[in-house]
Amino acid sequence: MLLEVGGLVKRYKTKDRQIVEAVRGIRFTLSAGTILAFLGPNGAGKTTTIKMIAGLVRPDDGDVTVEGHSLSGRSGQALRHLGAVLEGSRNLYWRLTPLENFEYWGGIRGLSRKTARDHGRELMREFGLEDKIGSTVQQLSRGMQQQVAICAALIHSPSLLLLDEPTLGLDLDASDRIQDYVLRLAHERGVGILLTTHQMEVAQTLADRISIIQSGVLTLEGFKEDVLARFTGSSYVFELAEAPSAEARILADNLGAAWTSECEFRVVLDRPTDVYEIMRALEPCSVVRVMRETADLATVFREHTRKSVSMESVREVTA
């Protein structure tokens, strides 16, 4: 197995001496050629998990192995097989050109200058950036910088790539290029990719598998198709004649409505007959159209997190 994450636990001590349980016993595996999208609300523990896999944060418990090499033992072997683009970091020297960056990052991973240069050129060509190879990174657009950062993380041909919010703040074009590339990297070259994102459409395009993490616990795990199928057939779009009253809106919200405009919302219903309950709740505002639709990942995510959060608050109340 390419990546095995076993029972990771991480508690941080904050400055005011409180304990934050960022990750509470996460385990999963990732095989070669697979893209795993790691989803979860802010502060759920995604970055912490990624950094534990990259050896940058030391877990309180559990272990990570990459290609069979444990990270807590001789981590050098595990690190040789791993590349990462971290969240909110530059990941590159801005004063150097992409090519000089590749030489450096390749060099400190044991590559000769020539190997690093040749491979770097090839990677840049695949992104269509070969004419930018000689300008300093500082001069490149944000989207290009992110693409170069991905090239640098791949310079030593790792079999595992970690991407923490790789398309955050990028325009459509840059985001599309990165997504295309990630797909090819996994499905044509067999690289295993673990990525986090808050952009559900990105996850839906890329992922083979989906994991949802909430408050440091994996609450959902599975193949994308299975995850989507769980909710398919129970997602409905309501179109209203006019904007409803504030009270009606609150009633609909309580049933899980996600408003896409003033007069339209999407909702997941456990039973088809609940459609009538919603219509009653909206009275006197009349419903023009009700559509049953196939669920997308955004709906699944919203539904799933809403449910498990309310389950959690129930647990807290009863405890």
């Binding site: 001590k13 950094k51 050098g76 909110g88 150097l96 450096y104 060099g107 044991g110």
Partner: protein, 258 residues
């Protein structure tokens, strides 16, 4: 590992070339200081150069600046790269951060040494005063830089844990200056251990005996031996402390700024 050393070397070199104004201003300072030392030296000697003394001053100054560079580089690298967002990538090197920092320090020292030699020669050419510096002077110089590298790891440890190190660096420089000025070599009894164990002390005693008494490298009593022991000791202390500091920062999850 050789590839990593070359990579560090190239990175330093490229940055120097790319920002020539920074390079020039640094060079200008070195040239000015050396020029001043030369002029001052010849003035004090009443025109007739006190050859030996002047070269001592120059060698001493060059060693001091190179050592200070070794002490400061690693800490500076860490705080700078934490801000720039490249530190974590450096820490993901399979060679480990301690080794990468060491290589970076070596690249820096070599470049610093090149510049020093270069300016020394140009200043000698300008003033017409030629100094003789024995190649054997390099040995204590290297030992001094090895100790300085050990202290550099200590500064790096403070930086990685506290996210700042300027006060510690200042304090350290002050202590070192004191150790260099103080005649620790003459201490007897239990104090002699201080002269052997304190950073820089034995190597300064060695240098002093080589310079003022003109003794050869191997003729200065046990000071050469103690200098080697001292350099290894401080390098080891530095490495151990840095290893511990790294572990602690990884446990806290704040390798880069949080």
């Amino acid at each position: 590992m050789l590839h990593a050393l070359r990579a560090e070397w190239r990175r330093e070199w490229v940055q120097l070339r790319r920002y020539p104004t920074e390079l020039l201003s640094e060079l200008a300072v070195i040239v000015l200081v050396f020029y001043g030392l030369f002029l001052g030296g010849s003035y004090m000697a009443g025109g007739a150069i006190l050859g030996g003394r002047l070269s001592d001053i120059i060698v001493g100054y060059a060693l001091w600046t190179l050592s200070m560079m070794s002490i400061g580089t690693m800490g500076w690298t860490i705080s700078n790269e934490a801000q720039n967002g490249t530190l974590e990538q450096v820490f993901m090197s399979p060679y480990g951060a301690s080794l990468i920092l060491l290589l970076r320090n070596m690249a820096n020292v070599v470049i610093g040494l090149l510049f020093t030699i270069l300016t020394l020669f140009s200043v000698m050419a300008i003033t017409g005063h030629y100094l003789f510096v024995s190649p054997w002077d390099m040995v204590p110089g290297l030992l001094m830089i090895a100790s300085a590298t050990g202290l550099g790891y200590l500064v790096a440890s403070v930086t990685i844990l506290m996210k700042r190190s300027q006060q510690f660096l200042n304090l350290l420089q002050f202590i070192l200056l004191f150790l260099i000025m103080a005649p620790t070599a003459n201490l007897g009894g239990a104090w002699r251990w201080l002269a052997i164990m304190a950073p820089f002390s034995p190597v300064v005693a060695l240098l002093r005996s080589m310079m003022t008494q003109g003794s050869a490298l191997f003729g200065a009593g046990d000071w050469l031996l103690w200098s080697v022991v001292n350099a290894v000791l401080w390098l080891l202390i530095g490495l151990l402390v840095f290893g511990w500091a790294q572990k602690k920062a990884r446990r806290r999850g704040n390798l880069s700024h949080y």
